[in-house]
Symmetry: C2
Subunit: 97 residues, 2 copies
């Protein structure tokens, strides 16, 4: 299945910025980054559960927001994309092309 993972992590504190880095790192292991805090992941049920479990270990439920959406397939017919997305290492603000 295709799922979309999106998150808001509060980054006012060093701890928040660390959470953001760790959340992104987990997501990078499971899918493709399509925006700064949005990932598309093709996973089976076991992988979905593992991803969810790993992310719940990282986020702060009192500070952050994490969402998983099941996407309608075939994805190509149900997604529209406009504009550019640059391969930036957002967590460290350096270009990783």
């Amino acid at each position: 299945m295709m799922i979309l993972v999106s998150y808001d992590v509060r980054t006012e504190t060093p701890a928040g910025r660390r959470r953001l880095r760790r959340v992104a790192k987990v997501c990078l292991n499971y899918g493709q980054r399509v925006q700064k805090s949005v990932f598309e992941c093709r996973v089976n049920q076991a992988q979905y559960e593992a991803l969810e479990r790993r992310l719940l270990e990282e986020i702060d439920l009192n500070e952050d927001n994490l969402r998983f959406y099941r996407l309608t397939e075939p994805l190509a017919q149900h997604v529209k994309e406009y504009g550019v997305f640059r391969a930036i290492d957002f967590e460290n603000d350096s270009l990783v092309i």
Copy 2:
């Protein structure tokens, strides 16, 4: 249909911050904000096309990224949410509860 709208707008410049405000304002007319730059919108085909057209008038295709996803329904069975989302006026950094 339920669609998810997400965007990355480059906000390094005043023009970018203006685009961000305008993009958010358009989205607020069509759906519910669920994260800083993620909205869920229940629309018919005509509304979807209008929303898309309006957003394309606001974003800069050379700087920003805009995505529309068709969500699988019933939504309640295909979305998982964790953590908190505060009703912040992100564009103006003031609380709007």
